[in-house]
Subunit: 220 residues, 2 copies
Amino acid sequence: MIDSTDLFYADADLLDTLEHRYRAQLVNSLSGFKSANLVGTVSDSGIPNLAIVSSVVHLGAHPPLMAMVSRPNTVRRDTIENLSANKFFTLNHVNEKIFHRAHQTAARYPADTCEFEAVGLTPVRGKRVDAPYVAEATIKIGLQLEEIKHLDINGTDLVIGRIIELSVPQQAIAEDGYVDIESAGSVAVSGLDSYHTTQRLDRLSYAKPEHPSYSLLRKK
Amino acid sequence: MIDSTDLFYADADLLDTLEHRYRAQLVNSLSGFKSANLVGTVSDSGIPNLAIVSSVVHLGAHPPLMAMVSRPNTVRRDTIENLSANKFFTLNHVNEKIFHRAHQTAARYPADTCEFEAVGLTPVRGKRVDAPYVAEATIKIGLQLEEIKHLDINGTDLVIGRIIELSVPQQAIAEDGYVDIESAGSVAVSGLDSYHTTQRLDRLSYAKPEHPSYSLLRKK
């Protein structure tokens, strides 16, 4: 691990002067590791659409809500337009076997192109959600659109969905409900284009002021 | 990688009947890997506050904006209250050397307790941001509060900040501006309590419809 004292410092004024692609790479790296999901939707005319997103976040467990940030003027407008016509969408974890194909869904294909076909992934139907899942994903979540919150500050949209159904490998679920997404091959993203597998350091017990947290794994 | 056909399926009705801690573990795992950041703020009476968050997302590069979800009735209320008094906050990447101490900041310490002291991390001042950084973090970002957007759907708050300054190891910055947060030891989180180091699979070129993406690393 790099732990040098040779630091790059930038303030807002310097950031503002950077070449725009350089700034995009730099600032996109700062949030830390991100989730990698494929969003499946279907257009008004029935064309399945698939787009990779790295901005999906947990919003709450009860009701079960997830959110993602949709940026203006990107390929993801297809996704937003489809969501206006059809309120369902799917989230499919990108895993190490499909990350190349998943990345390729970010290309600006024409609106009538089916990204599943273009990149070589297989659409499958769920039981309760009218939107395509990715067959090659081992963790699949089906959601109903609850709200699209426009963020005036930079024109992005926060898309909020409620979980209607989910499917995960039985083996990946721990006794306490935790899903071992590492064992399911889910990858992490950093910046705009870097994909990573993971190696668990530990699971830690619920933090309490009285004593330090302990390992939930060594306890067993 | 688990790729079994033995699947756990749940629909919204089943989710609703699950024991609440089990549901929290399950649903918190579904979004995929998350960033691990320590949020530094300072109270009205000058007490530094530190809280771990796994919900920081990139919102935009120009202007440089980041957002995080703050949940109701958690220790993070301190953070929100401090932000009302003092509009500055810091985000500090949790790395593999400090993840135990970072996790411990989630404990419900009394409001007049300084979490830095309680868990053994060192507050340091930035140049332009009046909030404490974590000396032990190699990636540090200072932000000014722009907006707290209340999400009525479940009572959470979306805290939006603008980057005022940042400091990262010079060695970790690639030619194109990408920050190699893996080399800086930044960790990823899954679920409520699992910490992971990462191993890069690849960096992929900007996706275009005409040809498949190629590795940005092998090109060199």
